[in-house]
């Protein structure tokens, strides 16, 4: 196995649930572990952390060789950062002492994360003297995240850290997670059942279904897979681009990706910045000829990659390719027939809107 990947194989049998997982995941960036509840997402994280005493198997990768019992290294020797749904902060310690708990025990590990700058990054300086019992849910999760990072982990496991929060707090913490991702070269496994969180954070995506891997690959690629997209209520795809031009007169920014570019309102984007854009399949229309005059500014030359058009449905889903980037379009089956779109064919995609994710 190359040093760039974690190789995982785990199995665990319980009443009415068998968990059997065998896969290789990248040892950097954010790997989202996605799936419905009961798919075994949390179980996977608990196996990795060594919190499932009955599990069999191992995770092997750079700096990591953790087998399950009987030769398992105990949890405390693994160097795992673990944040769960509800922050498990120590109630007898205040916020600062909770962080100290991690710092004191992290001495033997290589330090990459420093207390003062992390406290700034996560905006928890004002919370330090507070008791953990009167923190809000979002505050508690930020403290838990800081504590996990200060233990200088080799791998950060995030088990639905946003699921207990209301929508506003969820987005706030999501932005903090994006910051953490940008700041630390730390591999993270992020468990979630919500597509919007995965869209924003994930570099790599594993979909679990009933204890097994159903789909895995680069996040942008998996999102555009018809087999994956057709199961989502609002199929969409993501494009990683960077800003190459700012048009101050019209307030737009030009975001370039592999074989195309988009114009988006430029308010928050800096020149040269890498951004991630989400395009809903319902917002993409197709035409055979280059559209000339239209209010839709964004059009991309694409090639039809695959088509999913079940006979019993009015709508068809089309996967489009622009170099290494992918787009999805949901159009009626009739339009599909009228345009005579087949895999391999070139056409134009018009994007009614695109949302900036980062």
């Amino acid at each position: 196995m190359s040093t760039e990947t974690f190789s995982l194989n785990f199995s665990l049998s319980r009443a009415a649930f068998t968990f059997e997982l065998n896969c290789a995941l990248p040892a950097r960036g954010v790997t989202a572990i996605f799936g419905a509840s009961g798919a075994g997402k949390s179980t996977l994280l608990r196996c990795i952390a060594g919190l499932e005493p009955d599990a069999q198997g191992a995770i092997v990768g750079p700096d990591v060789n953790w087998r399950c019992a009987p030769t398992a290294p105990p949890v405390e020797e693994r160097g795992i950062g673990y944040v769960s749904q509800r922050a498990a902060l120590f109630p007898h310690l205040n916020v600062a002492q909770n962080l100290q708990f991690a710092i004191k025990r992290a001495r033997s590990r290589i330090a990459f994360c420093e207390h003062d700058s992390l406290v700034e990054l996560l905006g928890i300086r004002a919370l330090l003297p507070r008791s953990v019992e009167n923190l809000s849910g979002g505050e508690a999760q930020r403290v838990a995240l800081a504590r996990a990072l200060l233990s200088q982990p080799r791998l950060l496991l995030l088990d639905e850290p946003l699921s207990a929060l209301d929508d506003e707090r969820r987005h706030e913490l999501l932005r903090y997670l994006v910051q953490v991702k940008a700041h630390f070269a730390l591999p993270m496994f992020y468990v979630s059942h919500r597509l919007d969180e995965v869209e924003m954070l994930a570099d790599y995506l594993v979909e679990l279904h009933e204890g097994q891997v159903r789909q895995q690959g680069n996040a942008a690629e998996v999102f555009s897979l018809l087999a994956f997209a057709q199961r989502q209520r609002h199929p969409s795809c993501i494009i990683d681009a960077h800003c190459v031009e700012k048009e101050s007169e019209w307030g737009l920014a030009r975001l370039e990706f592999d074989r195309g570019a988009l114009w988006l309102p430029n308010s928050a984007i800096a020149l040269g910045q890498s951004v991630r854009v989400r395009v809903a399949a319902d917002d993409v229309s197709l035409s055979r000829e280059a559209p000339t005059s239209s209010s839709i500014a964004n059009r991309v030359a694409v090639q039809v990659d695959a088509v999913h058009a079940p006979r019993d449905q009015a709508m068809a889903l089309v996967r489009l390719r622009a170099g290494r980037a992918y787009l999805l379009a949901r159009i009626t089956r009739r339009s599909l027939a009228e345009l005579q779109l087949e895999p391999g064919q070139s056409c134009w995609a018009q994007l009614k809107s695109a949302a900036l994710l980062s």
Binding site: A49, G79, Y82, A102
Partner: protein
């Protein structure tokens, strides 16, 4: 108070002190096991631990007396060690008091351990804390209210013990004659003035202990009600 009264008071405090120290050492692992184990023996052990709550102390004392006798199981053991019989001795009284006060110590600790969220221990482990470290820096501080409750209740309950002492301790000054026995003697001798003093000492000290428990509880330092059955928080 006479010299004999003072002697009885000191003996009582000494007995309660020894008893509670030993009970805390035994009670913590026992409570942990009862709270966390899925063993089929847990209900049986729980019932045995709770027995002194409902059993007349004299019954407990009677069986202990039989066990301590030279032909009894504990008696034979202590005889082979050359310690003689535990009956009518201070160590015997300590053992009797431990049986008698066991539920008052184990139950509050058990309740706090049941309320201890296992996520706390898991996150302590992921942060690099080994088993001993987790016990000292997470478990003990978090269940501290239960520990304080257990200590106060166990101590107070041992102070007032009578039936068990009478059966296995008898009435040896400085060795087994505790406050409640001394009080009984005064009443037998129709010496009500002396009896009043001792009764007042027991009443006031028990009252003070329970009062302190309630004050501490309001500040969140101790857990539970008298029997430690209320849940924390």
């Amino acid at each position: 108070m006479t010299e004999a009264d003072w002697q009885a008071l000191w003996l009582t405090v000494k007995l309660a002190g020894f008893t509670i120290c030993l009970l805390m050492v035994i009670g913590l692992p026992l409570a942990w096991w009862m709270a966390r184990s899925r063993s089929v023996f847990v209900p049986f052990v729980s019932a045995i631990v709770a027995l002194p709550l409902v059993l007349p102390p004299t019954v407990l004392g009677f069986y202990l007396l039989l066990a301590f006798a030279p032909s009894g199981p504990i008696g034979q053991f202590t005889e082979t060690l050359g310690l003689g019989s535990l009956a009518f001795s201070f160590p015997g009284l300590v053992i009797g008091s431990m049986c008698y006060s066991l539920p008052f110590v184990v139950q509050p600790i058990q309740v706090s351990i049941e309320n201890l969220r296992s996520e706390l221990l898991e996150s302590a482990a992921t942060l690099g804390a080994g088993p001993m470290d987790r016990l000292v820096s997470v478990v003990l501080p978090v269940i501290r209210p239960g520990l304080i409750t257990a200590a106060i209740l166990g101590f107070a309950h041992t102070l007032g013990e009578f039936g068990v002492v009478l059966m296995i301790g008898g009435n040896i000054p400085g060795e087994t004659r505790v406050l409640s026995v001394q009080l009984y003697d005064h009443v037998e001798a129709l010496d009500y003035a002396q009896a009043h003093t001792l009764a007042a000492v027991l009443l006031v000290s028990s009252m003070c202990l329970l009062l302190s428990l309630n004050i501490l509880r309001r500040r969140g330092w101790v857990a539970g009600t008298l029997l430690g059955s209320a849940r924390e928080h």
